[in-house]
């Protein structure tokens, strides 16, 4: 099912992506299009230019694995019995105060919208992760794609030499393979398992580049015979996986931070998380639509304050550097930076000086593309025990994310004949945080 879109536009170098092709074909007559049901929504898109603009948008998800405490980050309650030892500080947006552990971000608050009123009800790692990765509760019999897979699908380019979805993490607990679900392995993440570079991305010395490419072609010819009269999506995915190898191999240098000046590397800091976020910026710059960097392990059932002192300070340095860096390169208006985890932490401090899982009133942040910075949405009570204004769940957060990226959150995917909207009907994005 390959589209020879090069021939439609006249020249292969023109680089019109698949979405653009489909947009143009809408005028030319959609007869040639394959049974890709998402064409239905593309036909509604007004102009080709609009499509191309949307293609330039990217997402950088800073995943706080284990569940970061909202009281030590975006929604402090100093002086309260639940507040803990840290104070709140003013930011460069009058009226907004965040934890004193984030002094640098406080000076960049104008980029960021905080949502303080998440009530997502699921406070266990497995269920909470699944919910906050996909934006909806699990449905038996249906494997829903995660945010990365959806963004890769919506914002990626079929002919792209860079991966569409890259996922990095710092330690075992942060690793959750996530997945493309019913969208298929085409949208599975390139998962950085060891260190900063993807495995097996470099050609072995024992084979020439010519032969490496030629044997792939021989393979393809043999496989095509087999697939005749047996078309299944699993076989299709096998072939498309091999089809992408050469392109991915050529993106190897993106993962090499020694290409960055020392000064830049110092700003992100010497930690693995810092280096990974720098790699993420390089990937974003090269056009990778979705990069996830997971930082583990925020699950401070004991010693909450030491843990957060360390992790929040790191987040503060890395994220503020990132925001500056993206802004300097003119990328911030095209990149949505998200901080999110599977849930927050209890306002009650337990006997181990820890905070436990808590999904009834917690925070996430959104910065950059499509977002109105310098805004707080939602309120929790004085002790942070419950939401008293603007309660939202995972779906509304996801609807907001999609809208910020110019993706219609009510658009349908199809599994067989069953339409499945990106968010359930009736879900509304949060207008107050949207630009």
């Amino acid at each position: 099912m390959s589209h020879q879109f090069g021939s439609w536009c006249g020249s292969a170098e023109h680089g019109v992506n698949r979405r653009g092709f489909l947009g143009a074909a809408a005028f030319a007559g959609a007869g040639a299009l394959a049974a890709d049901m998402t064409v239905l929504s593309v036909l509604k898109e007004p102009v080709l230019a609009e499509e191309i603009k949307r293609q330039e948008k990217r997402v950088l998800l800073l995943w706080l694995a284990g569940g970061a405490s909202q009281l030590e980050t975006w929604d402090p309650k100093p002086g309260r019995p639940t507040g803990g030892p840290f104070r709140a500080i003013d930011t460069n947006v009058p009226g907004i105060r965040i934890s004193e552990l984030m002094p640098r971000l406080a000076q960049r608050q104008h980029h960021t919208a905080i949502v303080r009123s998440l009530n997502t009800k699921n406070a266990d790692h497995g269920g909470g992760t699944e919910l906050m990765e996909t934006g909806r509760p699990r449905e038996p019999g249906l494997v829903y794609p995660d945010l990365g897979a959806i963004v890769a699908r919506e914002l990626g380019r079929a002919d792209s030499p860079v991966p569409d979805y890259v996922s990095m993490y710092t330690s075992t607990e942060g690793r959750h393979k996530g997945g493309p679900g019913f969208l298929g392995a085409r949208y599975a993440p390139m998962f950085l398992d060891k260190g900063l570079a993807p495995e097996n991305i470099r050609r072995l010395e024992s084979i020439s580049d010519l032969d490496h490419a030629a044997r792939l072609e021989l393979r393809s010819a043999l496989a095509a015979r087999f697939a005749q009269s047996r078309e299944t999506s699993a076989i299709g995915s096998h072939n498309s996986a091999y089809g992408r190898v050469r392109g991915l191999m050529s993106s190897e240098k993106l993962f090499d931070i020694s290409q960055e000046p020392a000064a830049m590397r110092e700003k992100y800091g010497p930690t693995v998380f810092g280096e990974q976020v720098l790699v993420a910026r390089r990937l974003i710059e090269a056009g990778v639509p979705f990069v996830k960097v997971a930082r583990a392990w925020w699950d401070s059932h004991g010693q909450n304050f030491e843990t957060h002192l360390e992790l929040v300070s790191e987040l503060d340095q890395v994220m503020s550097t990132l925001l500056d860096d993206l802004a300097d390169r003119g990328l911030l208006e095209k990149t949505l930076v998200i901080t999110l985890g599977e849930f927050g932490r209890t306002p009650q401090i337990n006997p181990s000086l820890g905070r436990d899982h808590f999904a009834a009133a917690w925070s996430a942040s959104l910065s950059g593309c499509g977002i109105k910075g310098g805004v707080v949405y939602g309120k929790t009570d004085d002790d942070g025990n419950k939401v008293i204004d603007g309660e939202v769940g995972a779906e509304a957060l996801f609807a907001t994310i999609f809208t910020a990226l110019g993706i219609n959150h009510q658009k349908n995917y199809f599994v067989g004949a069953r339409p499945i909207p990106l968010t359930n009907p009736g879900t509304k994005p949060i207008p107050e945080v949207l630009a």
Binding site: V143, A185, L204, R219, H238, R244
Partner: protein
């Protein structure tokens, strides 16, 4: 494995819970129990095809069939010599002989063990667990007995300790124990009923979920990491209306189970139970089973002989799914009244047949494999669209499991003559197979376990394209490997055919011969590299990757 336990008369309090659409469908007029399995399978599959006005695809050719049967029964591709023998045989009943040979071979036990291992432990079990499974399957131990040993293990013995792996790896979370036991042994994933009554399925309310969980809520791990069970304790839950309820024992749709409880016993018995519970947690040796073991009750109820019970149907359904690519009930863990089987009478008949023959696995596999439904080609060449998989009109294309794939790679790229020689000797083959599996385990871990909507990601392709380990393992130029053998074949066509036979189990077609010959000829200056690249293309071909 005998131990003293209280056998509870199973009193079912049917009145207290809505039972409307609950029971799985039972039938009065099923075909006679003495009919051969394969005949009954074909009767019902053909009937459904006729009703849908669909013409089935023709039978797969011999090379296709022996590949499929060997993969499904032995967990590996056939060797060149096995294929040649089968193709050249003119015996009228060669298919039956093939199936019987495969069932009797040591490979069968290895493969069944691997499948059950993945099903129950998703590859996370240890060597002792796998060995225990092997021993059980080698003596064709019936599934209900395995279930009993897994649910009520006695950890004093090594076998019991191994069997305890299933529960112990899930004991930290009552929901994991409940849902995994329920879905893997009973075909019911009841998780969604935890937070609210199921919106669509009347069978599954919160009462049902917590009722099932109540069989497990007293189970825990002691300080010394032994499995133990308390004598009392009940789950409480909150309904969506905010009402707090105490859970009662409920076994799926059968209804509430009456149990003797501690409260009904004498003061002395209660005292003894309390002391036991306290002592259990600190014991250096495995605790005794609970006197009022809820898990024991679960086993007894689940194994009641009953035509419409979940246990035999789940057993049959999963086995069917393994051989045909999808179950008679799909998804596999959604066996409830709103989700009808594709062939309801067939499922009922097979379940009854399994129970009547004490869950004889080989017998059931034999019957399914001899059916015409199993033997169809996977090519659909009629003008109409490929029909729904539920009709079994055409064979499914199924990805190889990690172990099948890994083993088959090793076999495909081995020296074919050496391989055949080994296979002649049964005992030697068993030990060779064991070695192969140990070696294959490493690579197998890199491959994803097939599931619904299975797709292959680019990570796998990158391993095959750029991993030195892969090259060194399978493509090396040495006497014990295919590449080494091919190197010594002067005639190009013979070289190509040898490779096709070894890797894909068939003759190369003329166009394929041409393409490959051209490829090799263009690399006359580097003949070994060319051969390695050719073999590479064969093992990365989709034809190798799937069971078709």
């Amino acid at each position: 494995m005998r131990f003293a336990r209280c056998v509870f008369p199973i009193a079912i309090l049917a009145a207290s819970l809505p039972m409307a659409a609950g029971r799985l469908q039972a039938f009065d007029d099923l075909p006679d129990a003495a009919r051969p399995v394969e005949e009954v399978v074909d009767q019902f599959v053909d009937a459904a095809l006729a009703a849908a006005k669909v013409t089935a695809a023709p039978a797969a050719d011999d090379a296709n069939f022996i590949r499929r049967a060997t993969l499904d029964l032995a967990g590996r591709i056939p060797t060149t010599s096995e294929v040649q023998s089968y193709l050249q045989s003119s015996e009228a009943d060669k298919k039956v002989r093939l199936i019987d040979r495969l069932l009797a071979a040591p490979d069968f036990v290895f493969h069944q063990r691997n499948e059950v291992d993945v099903m129950l432990m998703a590859g996370k079990g240890n060597g002792e667990w796998r060995d225990w499974l092997f021993a059980a399957l080698e003596e064709n131990r019936p599934w209900p007995e395995l279930f009993r040993e897994i649910m009520l293990p006695r950890e004093e013995s090594p076998a019991g300790k191994a069997a305890a792996t299933f529960l112990k790896s899930r004991a930290a979370n009552v929901d994991d124990m409940t849902n995994d036991t329920s879905r893997l042994f009973l075909g019911v994933s009841i998780n969604c009923a935890k937070c609210h009554d199921h919106p669509l399925v009347p069978d599954w309310t919160q009462d049902h979920y917590f009722g099932m969980a109540s069989f497990f809520n007293r189970t825990y791990l002691t300080k010394k990491n032994f499995l133990a069970e308390r004598e009392d304790g009940n789950l409480k839950f909150r309904t969506t209306a905010g009402e707090e309820k105490q859970a009662r024992l409920v076994f799926l749709t059968i209804g509430e189970i009456a149990e003797s409880s501690l409260a009904q016993k004498s003061e002395a018995e209660r005292q003894a139970a309390e002391e036991k519970q306290k002592a259990d947690n600190d014991r250096e040796t495995p605790p005794e089973p609970a006197t009022f073991s809820r898990r024991a009750q679960l086993v007894d109820i689940a194994l009641r002989p009953d035509a419409s019970a979940f246990f035999p149907r789940a057993f049959v359904n999963r086995l069917w799914a393994r051989l045909f690519g999808q179950g008679l009930v799909m998804p596999l863990d959604q066996m409830h009244s709103e989700n009808k089987p594709s062939h309801p009478e067939l499922l009922a008949w097979l379940a009854r047949d399994a129970q009547a023959h004490n869950y004889d696995l080989k017998r059931l596999v034999r019957g399914l494999a001899l059916s015409r439904a199993y033997g169809r080609t996977s090519r659909w060449e009629q003008p109409a669209d490929r029909p729904s998989e539920r009709l079994f009109a055409v064979a499914a294309v199924r990805p190889l499991t990690p172990m099948q794939f890994s083993l088959s790679l090793a076999i495909a790229t081995a020296n074919p003559v050496e391989l055949s020689a080994r296979l002649e000797n049964g005992a030697e083959w068993a030990s060779r197979r064991r070695d192969l599996e140990n070696q294959a385990a490493g690579f197998a871990r890199e491959i994803e376990i097939p599931g619904d909507h299975f797709q292959i990601g680019v990570g796998e392709a990158l391993i095959f394209c750029n991993s030195g380990q892969f090259d060194g393992e399978y493509l090396r130029d040495s006497a014990d490997r295919l590449v080494g053998v091919l190197k010594g074949i002067g005639d190009r066509n013979a070289l190509i055919q040898t490779a096709f036979r070894s890797v894909l189990g068939r003759e190369a077609q003329p166009e394929e011969m041409e393409s490959v010959a051209r490829y090799l000829a263009a690399r006359d200056d580097r003949p070994v590299a060319a051969i390695q690249q050719f073999v590479w293309a064969l093992v990365t071909d989709s034809e190798f990757r799937f069971n078709y």
